[in-house]
């Protein structure tokens, strides 16, 4: 069993996917949270000067999706065939495509601009994407095959971030997506983590 050490900031952000997958897989790991000087010291030692990073038996992997995929494989949540794995990848990439539009809203200081950006995201950017995802999720509430994969878990993580920046019930009426959310939160490992995890701003 390899040793896993995850390093991210003290928040969910792009680090939570890994934490949720470790929880779902019942895999032990060190959950390191850094800030300020600690981060400045670590930064040049990371491959791209970014977090999260995952250290696996001494090898450093960066990029949240690369990390997520590695843990998903270890947890048996990456899809049963190469084609299923590709379907999971595409759902996750599609979801993550929304993050570069979402994150700037979180950091926007001008209240008027922030309100404008929120409105545009909620009314123009988000709805067509959620329509696609609703069609791609099954009636049983799985994006891939007939059981939980990391595509479902990533969607849950994304919805968590969305809720911080643009509050609202964005998947109201979307039957399949609501089932996906239910399947993720009722996973025993994830349910336990959701109760125990630190409360953070993002």
């Amino acid at each position: 069993m390899p040793s896993y050490k995850l390093t991210y900031f003290n928040g969910r952000g792009r680090g939570e996917l890994a934490r949720l997958l470790f929880a779902a897989g019942g895999i032990e790991y060190e959950d390191v949270r850094v800030a300020g000087e600690q981060w400045q010291e670590l930064k040049p030692k990371t491959p791209f000067g970014q977090l999260p990073i995952l250290e696996v038996d001494g090898t450093m992997i960066c990029e949240s999706r690369a990390i997520g995929r590695l843990i998903a494989k270890a947890a048996g949540l990456a899809g049963k065939t190469d084609l299923e794995a590709a379907r999971a990848d595409m759902i996750i990439d599609g979801c993550d495509d929304l993050l570069p539009k979402l994150f700037p809203i979180f950091g926007e200081k001008d209240e008027n601009k922030k309100a404008e950006l929120k409105k545009e995201f909620a009314e123009k950017t988000l709805p067509p994407a959620l329509d696609h995802f609703e069609k791609l999720a099954s009636a049983e509430g799985y994006f891939v095959g007939k059981s939980l994969t990391w595509a479902d878990v990533n969607f849950f993580a994304f919805m968590g971030l969305l809720g911080v920046v643009v509050p609202g019930d964005h998947i109201k009426g979307k039957v399949n997506l609501n089932k996906v959310m239910g399947n993720v939160t009722s996973n025993p490992g994830i349910a336990k983590w959701l109760k125990e995890r630190p409360e953070t701003e993002f």
């Binding site: 992997i61 999706r65 690369a66 995929r69 494989k73 590709a86 379907r87 990848d89």
Partner: protein, 214 residues
């Protein structure tokens, strides 16, 4: 196609994109490296409004595998790499390849931002200068260090060509158009680009592929 031992059927691959290299080219390079046949579909712009409606996220590229549609260029290239044995040998190797691809994808997206999305000409020029003076050199310098952790004189990860190398060639082709000497401070990366260009299968594809602006 690929011979599926269990069902004795050849898989049919169809790659849907526009008549550009763009985000379909990494997959095309991987098909070429393996000599794996596929339909290289290039959509005309007047077809697009109707065409996109049948695609999973109304975007291209899309790879159709025996009728199943995969979208998202990184997911597509990874799948083709897996089928052709260019994904990395272990889960950890695959993760290293994946992280390099995501890094390249990030830089390509930043370039796309000023090329396609910035409409104001002054801001466009400012962003372009920032890309070439800061973003790209920072990335290339980190990337060369990562190549050196794998020896420096082979491919990016492990022993053989992986989809990260295909992506890197596409990035190189793209940025060299604007700045032909961008690799001068990074000789190992320049040599890697040549190594990928002359890879059997890729070499032939580069000579015969449609010549498009981007």
């Amino acid at each position: 196609g690929v011979h599926c031992g269990a069902c004795r059927k050849m898989s049919v691959y169809e790659l849907h994109y526009f008549n550009n290299r763009g985000r379909a080219e990494p997959a095309r390079l991987l098909f070429a490296a393996a000599g794996l046949p596929y339909r290289d579909i290039r959509i005309q712009s007047e077809q697009w409004p109707e065409y996109k409606l049948k695609l999973p996220m109304h975007q291209v590229p899309v790879l159709e595998v025996d009728g199943t549609m995969i979208c998202q260029s990184v997911a597509i290239a990874r799948y083709v790499a897996k089928v052709t044995g260019h994904a990395g040998k272990t889960d950890l190797e695959q993760a290293k390849v994946d992280m390099l691809v995501d890094g390249i994808d990030d830089v390509m997206t930043k370039k796309g931002d000023y090329v396609w999305h910035e409409k104001d000409e002054t801001r466009k020029m400012e962003k372009k200068n920032a890309f070439y003076e800061t973003t790209l050199p920072q990335f290339l310098s980190r990337f060369e260090k990562l190549l050196l952790t794998n020896g420096g004189d082979g491919f990016l990860v492990g022993e053989g060509l992986a989809h990260a190398d295909a992506w890197f060639l596409c990035l190189a082709d793209d940025v060299l158009l604007d700045f032909p000497d961008i690799f001068t401070p990074y000789p190992k990366l320049a040599a890697l680009v040549e190594r990928i260009r002359t890879y059997p299968g890729i070499k032939e594809w580069l000579a015969k592929r449609p010549q498009t602006e981007f």
